[in-house]
């Protein structure tokens, strides 16, 4: 617990003193004290479940602390509801979006700040004000679009704009970059910079230590609900932060031998998908994946990667084209579903684990057989043999270090990282010939990331074919033997690992095609 500056002279923007919070048996915050200065960007890091979101929700009045005091600009304050926080000039962008999806952007901005009982005139006024804000910060948001029609990145911008519109002097950002593309991240950082110049303070939560290093002035580390360290960013490095978060020495690098690709196990030719609204979401997608290689698919979320995974895994019909699975051709009219895919030796870790890969209400052991409940070795006659299922689950949990080791705990009570490990364990357990993986480490802390990466590489080394979709360029670069880049439903380029650099992929992600042969040296 390194020193908070001892002299009192720089008046703090916000001081959280001795905050304590429990959720039933979970002690989310333990006597946390955290201060940050005006005109500064303060980072907050910690493993999954360390209590970061809880702490900030308390500052925002969304939760009430069991104990502790809050001071804003030196004055003790009583924050019981978000309304109190808003009045004190505190704004928050939540980790899970707080948007009304059926509303337009403008309506979302207006909510709670309508400026009069009738919307008409207020709406016009708000439009002008928001426009001014957009210009000032270079944030572009279509005000009359329905939120659910917008890509997540834009939704994130709406959230930020909402906080700015409400006049936040102190802006809390809870993992805002998880869904942003690299250029969007850069843009966000420019905004944060401008806020700091205006004398406002920003509190930034992120799992990406690179970002911490890039923009923050100071950074606090939370572990198991406690503040365990605080650094001046300029005086520390990623390794030190990682070690403080986990509480021991960690390795941030994956070791990996060159790939030895074998036969083509999975391929797609000219696959097209049109969604329910008639929009083409996948256009003439073609690819091959060989045994013993990891093919990475890079791209900003929402550019057809989800559809690609869904088509290949049998969850979605496609309009035209063929998919070839271990030599077997599958057309738009072939009977092919997720169960069929699994029978043919294809496993799938989907992008959105909470929506697809586990059932939150089920106990862990029931989630641990999702997709495999028809397996002969799990049933006895008509009966699903729960004893065998439990044994199986325990072995999965042990192999992948899922904590707590309790197969009867409700799935939703496991932390995100542990849920992800459970899904990985389930899908890798049957030694699939082909593994489709989407966003394997989204929202997962660095300890778990390294583990998951090692598992993927070892599967590859056992001669399996892996298709990896990730919005994290670092992840793509660290794992892939070959990189495909997607933009607007198309596969716009392909690079061998050796030639894949951040900037080349970045330009391709933005939709600027380059001929595969054209060699350019990265700056």
């Amino acid at each position: 617990m390194s020193a908070a500056p001892s002299n009192v002279s720089p008046s703090w923007a916000v001081e959280l003193v001795g905050i304590d919070k429990r959720f039933g048996p979970v002690h989310a915050n333990r006597n946390v004290t955290l201060r940050f200065a005006p005109a500064s960007i303060h980072g907050l890091v910690g493993e999954n479940g360390a209590g970061k979101s809880t702490l900030m929700s308390i500052l925002y009045g969304f939760y009430e602390a069991d104990e502790g005091t809050i001071l804003v600009r030196g004055q003790p304050v009583d924050i019981r509801t978000p309304q109190d926080a808003i009045r004190l000039g505190i704004g928050m962008v939540h980790q899970h979006f707080m948007l009304v999806e059926t509303f337009t952007v403008l309506e979302n901005l207006l909510l709670g700040h309508e400026g009069g009982p009738v919307l008409g005139p207020a709406m016009a006024r708000a439009r002008a004000e928001v426009q001014a804000l957009e210009d000032q910060f270079g944030l572009e948001v279509p005000l009359d679009a329905i939120v659910s029609d917008l890509p997540v990145g834009v939704q994130q911008r709406v959230e930020i704009l909402k906080a700015l519109y409400r006049g936040a002097e102190v802006l809390i950002l809870d993992e805002p970059t998880a869904v942003l593309s690299p250029p969007e991240v850069e843009q966000l950082f420019r905004i944060l910079e401008r806020l700091r110049q205006q004398g406002r303070s920003v509190l930034l939560i992120t799992h990406k230590l690179k970002e911490i290093m890039a923009v923050t002035d100071r950074v606090s580390v939370l572990r198991r609900g406690e503040v365990v360290a605080e650094f001046t960013t300029a005086e520390t490095d990623r390794q030190a932060l990682a070690d403080a978060m986990v509480g021991r020495k960690t390795s941030l690098f994956v070791e990996k031998a060159p790939a030895v690709p074998g036969d083509v196990l999975l391929s797609a030719r000219q696959v097209n998908v049109v969604d329910g609204r008639g929009v083409a979401t996948l256009k003439d997608a073609s690819l091959t994946v060989r045994a013993g290689e990891i093919v990475g698919v890079a791209g900003v979320a929402g550019n057809g990667q989800s559809e690609l995974l869904e088509v290949l895994s049998g969850m979605r019909r496609f309009e035209s084209g063929t998919v070839t699975l271990k030599g077997e051709e599958i057309g738009p009219h072939t009977a092919y579903d997720a169960a069929g895919a699994r029978r043919r030796g294809l496993a799938h870790v989907p992008e959105d684990r909470l929506k697809l890969a586990v059932i939150k209400e089920f106990p862990a052991h029931e989630s641990a057989i999702l997709g495999y409940h028809e397996d002969k070795d799990l049933s006895r006659g008509l009966r699903l043999d729960w004893k065998r299922v439990a044994l199986k689950t325990i072995s999965l949990m042990e192999r992948f270090d899922v904590r707590p080791l309790n197969p009867n705990l409700r799935t939703s009570l496991f932390s995100g990282g542990n849920q992800q490990k459970l899904v990985m364990a389930r899908e890798m357990d049957r030694e699939p010939d082909i593994l489709l993986v989407g966003q394997p480490t989204r929202g997962v802390d660095i300890g778990a990331i390294a583990f998951i990466h090692r598992q993927l590489v070892s599967l590859r080394d056992r001669g399996k074919a892996i298709l990896l979709v990730s919005a994290e360029l670092d992840e793509i670069l660290a794992l892939s033997d070959r990189v495909l880049v997607m933009c607007d439903g198309e596969i716009v380029g392909e690079l061998p690992a050796a030639e894949a650099t951040e900037s080349r992929i970045g330009t391709m992600m933005a939709g600027i095609k380059e001929a595969p042969a054209a060699e350019r040296v990265a700056p």
């Binding site: 925002y60 969304f62 939760y63 509801t81 978000p82 309304q83 109190d84 926080a85 808003i86 009045r87 928050m92 939540h94 899970h96 707080m98 948007l99 009304v100 999806e101 059926t102 509303f103 309506e107 979302n108 207006l110 909510l111 709670g112 700040h113 309508e114 009069g116 009982p117 009738v118 919307l119 008409g120 207020a122």
Partner: protein, 323 residues
């Protein structure tokens, strides 16, 4: 001319029958748009019908009846709110329970107060909402087409019918043009967004539930003091459920809901006129088939044309700050 008159009479009857459905469906609109499922429209209408008839019988004033009806319905609405909002109870169970309580209680109180088997005395003209002849109706009656249209269809209803019709644009305005409406629709979709915007979810939902109570109160009073002349046990006879169906058919939007109500009422009015009609080749259509017509129609419409109705996302779920 004869055809015109019978058509007008059909439409006239449609309006009368649509009124309670419309009021109740709009009540459901407010409640469900705020995220509180309301199976209890039926029960609220029933207590209101009883209270209105009882008060009108005792005071001789239809307006006193209306006031009593609204009050009774509000009390039931508060109870629903207490169970579902304050105590986060299951909204469907609460609605079912309140329907049953309303069914029993109105009969018990009716028996205790009037000793007429749960009925209230027949209301004299003064204790009911009479028909209003709109200005110029008599004078314009002779004008071809428009005259009868105005006289037969537009004029000559009681004030609650006009009130119900006026409630549709009013509701539209409230829901889509006011601050309250914006918040109401938001809390039914994503209460957490409302909460983090610094607005009380609980207060908002209580307001919505109470508005539902108010509208059901008017609907109930209409049944016993305008359309009818006294209260009978279970006189709502499923209208609350039909109103709910209209709300869903109208996809939780005020204007389409109006059309759904009119459709149900039209089918209902039509079926009284179709009884005994012979169709070429088929012969006399069984009464029961005609009677089932509104329901069959609804199913066909739902299956064929309306498509998927997407309820307010948070409806049915109590709000808990949770991940």
């Amino acid at each position: 001319m004869d055809f015109l008159l019978s058509l007008l009479s059909l439409l006239d009857s449609t309006l009368r029958l649509a009124t309670p459905l419309l009021l109740a469906a709009l009540a459901g609109f407010y409640s469900e748009r705020a995220g509180v499922v309301d199976i209890g429209l039926e029960g609220k209408m029933l207590v209101a019908a009883f209270a209105a008839a009882a008060a009108a019988a005792m005071t001789g004033s239809a307006w006193a009846g209306l006031g009593a009806g609204i009050l009774a319905s509000l009390l039931l609405a508060l109870l629903h709110g207490f169970a579902c909002i304050t105590h986060r109870g299951n909204q469907v169970v609460s609605g079912v329970a309140l329907n049953i309580v309303a069914l029993g209680l109105t009969a018990v109180l009716g028996n205790a107060w009037f000793q007429m088997g749960g009925r209230t005395p027949n209301l004299p003209a003064g204790a009911r909402f009479g028909e209003i002849t709109l200005p110029l109706a008599e004078g314009l009656r002779g004008v071809p087409l428009l005259g009868p249209l105005y006289y037969e269809l537009v004029s000559g209803h009681n004030i609650l019918v006009y009130l119900a019709l006026a409630a549709v644009p009013l509701t539209f305005w409230v829901a889509y043009r006011t601050r309250f409406g914006l918040r109401l629709r938001a809390v039914g979709e994503n209460p957490a967004a409302v909460d983090t915007a610094g607005i009380s979810v609980t207060a908002l939902r209580y307001q919505a539930v109470l508005i539902a109570g108010l509208l059901c109160g008017i609907a109930g009073a209409y049944l016993s003091t305008a359309q009818g002349a006294g209260f009978q046990t279970n006189m709502t006879a499923g209208k609350g459920f039909l109103a709910l169906a209209a709300l869903i058919l109208g996809k939780w939007k005020p204007v389409p809901t109006l059309f759904a109500c009119l459709l149900f009422a039209f089918a209902d009015a039509l079926q009284t006129r179709l009884q005994g009609v012979r169709l070429p080749g088929i012969g006399e259509v069984p009464v029961q088939l005609i009677e089932a017509l509104p329901y069959l129609l609804t199913v066909l419409l739902l299956a064929g044309f309306v498509g998927k109705a997407i309820p307010p996302k948070a409806s049915g779920r109590p709000y808990v700050k949770d991940r």
